[in-house]
Subunit: 337 residues, 2 copies
């Protein structure tokens, strides 16, 4: 029976295993999120926040903070504050992203900008940003404040870079990586790094946690960009083809452009650069990317980053959380299979 | 000649006298703002920021931080960081406010949301918020971090409250005060309070600086709201009548509603609650408010707050900066004469 349970556990998704292992901590984080999203004077704030928070989401980022802290043997109270901080920053960026991208669906629901208005999304996002700073200040740890303030700046910078790089078919893989580091990996790496810092472990382990989060975040975002072409609306909880309609230069498009025939190049110029999109163009784009192996090439890049994430954890002694985090790195790429 | 100069100085506006007294500090703040608004990867960020920063603005908030710190005898380096922090928070809220209010003019220029787009204003605002947190973390002072994080949350909460209170003619003076404390006074009081905290003065003086900033901010915003009806487009650098068009319940409207005849009430219901505004309604609103003494009543409230601000500084020994700050309190109300 012990073996059966263990086999059963091994068959579970790493995300679910982390959730089970960290259940008490996650409950404390959810309670803190619920308490801190309240507003004495403006009921609109918890309404908008709850719409997004209650929709589920995987709580991946706070779980990374908890897992990192516990892997490092932390047993104080502040990993809960930091995990809630990370989720608040994430929620704030989602609210603002949906305004910027004029998105209509998120986590299988209508977006807040559609249900209320852009104003509410902007201001409630600002409120959650401020709340996240209050939470991290409560830890009294200046180094985690420094890490999270830097991550916030990198996130915003990555979003602006994405805005100005959109529609530019000369965008390189290096620029794409910069955007991805900003919009996704910066918060992943901060989430894991602060877990180690609050636990007070040696620099080598702190650096390893940073590297793990950075590489995991990059792999995660590349797969997200692939799913925007390959996934189904139900599986990703938002509309597929959004990146195509917003003319974003994501990795599969960059890969396809690198080996494009003159006819294909003309197609990309028309739909991405000039934005002249017609019925059937999304399907045509997918067909080109499949023919050129662009999807496979992009997936290979994601696999490399996942391997880098897994390898980073080698500095830690054997531990169930280390195994779960290693498996998580493989899983974020496996979800496109 | 000494007397002549001194009379000349006394005739100057208190804001100009503060600027002259703090000239070296203000230069350092401007240099820090210029350096920290840069972005290695996203040139759009300094473009948008410079558009707003270069348009002038009075730099009133950073000046308050510098004046408070110097009045308290501070001679370290961090009042510069804190003053730049305060100006970044202010600039970020202006960028977001102009998106929320769909404003077209600010400081005599077209707004960033009009020149670029809402997306840039939202994301560059987020970047400046993050930059402000980086700057305050550099001071290494957890208490100023706490004060500024709380102020940021109060600002966002006040903005959301304003959003939901707009168009509601049942809005009370108490709710108006809450909104004003959030959108304006919270940053004024944080600006002055952190000046005292970084200088390490006694609690009585820190509290006095908080009270001064709070009362000054309230007086300032009431006058701003009066100018939106009484000022000229040139004098306020933005379009007059914006509050009326956005159906905001500012103090003169609340005062006029409190003593409205049935006909006047019907007018307010139509233009503010139902938003059915026609040519000539702004002039009609001004005529009602003048007839009812609503402008004068609102100005009296502002005068009371200015007196409270002035009185708060009595705990400080005689000092040229104390005199300038006292005179500033009178001046923010006098600008409507």
């Amino acid at each position: 029976m012990g073996l059966g349970m263990s086999l059963g556990a091994a068959a579970q998704k790493p995300h679910d295993r982390l959730n089970a292992w960290l259940a008490a901590d996650m409950d404390a984080v959810n309670l803190m999120i619920r308490t801190r999203m309240a507003s004495e004077h403006a009921p609109r704030i918890p309404e908008v926040t709850a719409h997004l928070i209650d929709a589920g989401g995987k709580r991946l980022r706070p779980m990374l903070t908890l897992a990192a802290a516990r892997l490092c043997g932390y047993d104080g109270p502040f990993h809960i504050h930091l995990a809630a901080t990370v989720e608040f920053i994430h929620t704030a960026t989602l609210l603002h992203d949906d305004v910027v991208d004029q998105s209509e669906r998120r986590r299988g629901r209508s977006t807040a900008n559609l249900l209320w208005d852009n104003k509410s999304s902007v201001l409630v996002g600002d409120y959650l940003f401020s709340r996240s700073f209050q939470l991290m200040v409560e830890t009294g740890n200046l180094r985690v404040l420094d890490i999270l303030a830097n991550a916030s700046a990198t996130i915003a910078e990555g979003e602006v870079l994405q805005l100005t790089a959109a529609q530019d078919i000369a965008t390189t893989e290096a620029t794409y990586l910069q955007v991805v580091r900003g919009k996704t990996a910066a918060l992943f790496s901060a989430a894991t790094e602060v877990g180690g810092v609050i636990a007070g472990v040696a620099e080598e382990q702190v650096r390893a946690l940073y590297t793990y989060g950075d590489a995991l975040g990059i792999a995660f975002q590349i797969v997200d960009d692939l799913l925007d072409y390959e996934g189904s609306d139900t599986s990703i909880g938002k509309n597929t083809g959004d990146d195509f309609r917003e003319r974003k230069l994501t990795l599969p498009v960059i890969k396809a452009l690198a080996v494009a025939t003159p006819e294909e190049r003309a197609f990309w110029v028309r739909v991405i650069e000039k934005g002249q999109q017609a019925e059937g163009d999304l399907e045509a784009a997918k067909a080109i990317m499949a023919r050129q192996g662009a999807m496979r090439d992009a997936r290979d890049v994601a696999l490399d980053w996942a391997a880098k994430a897994r390898a980073a954890l080698a500095v830690f002694p054997s531990h169930p959380l280390r195994t779960m985090l290693e498996d998580l790195a493989d899983y974020v790429v496996a979800r496109i299979n």
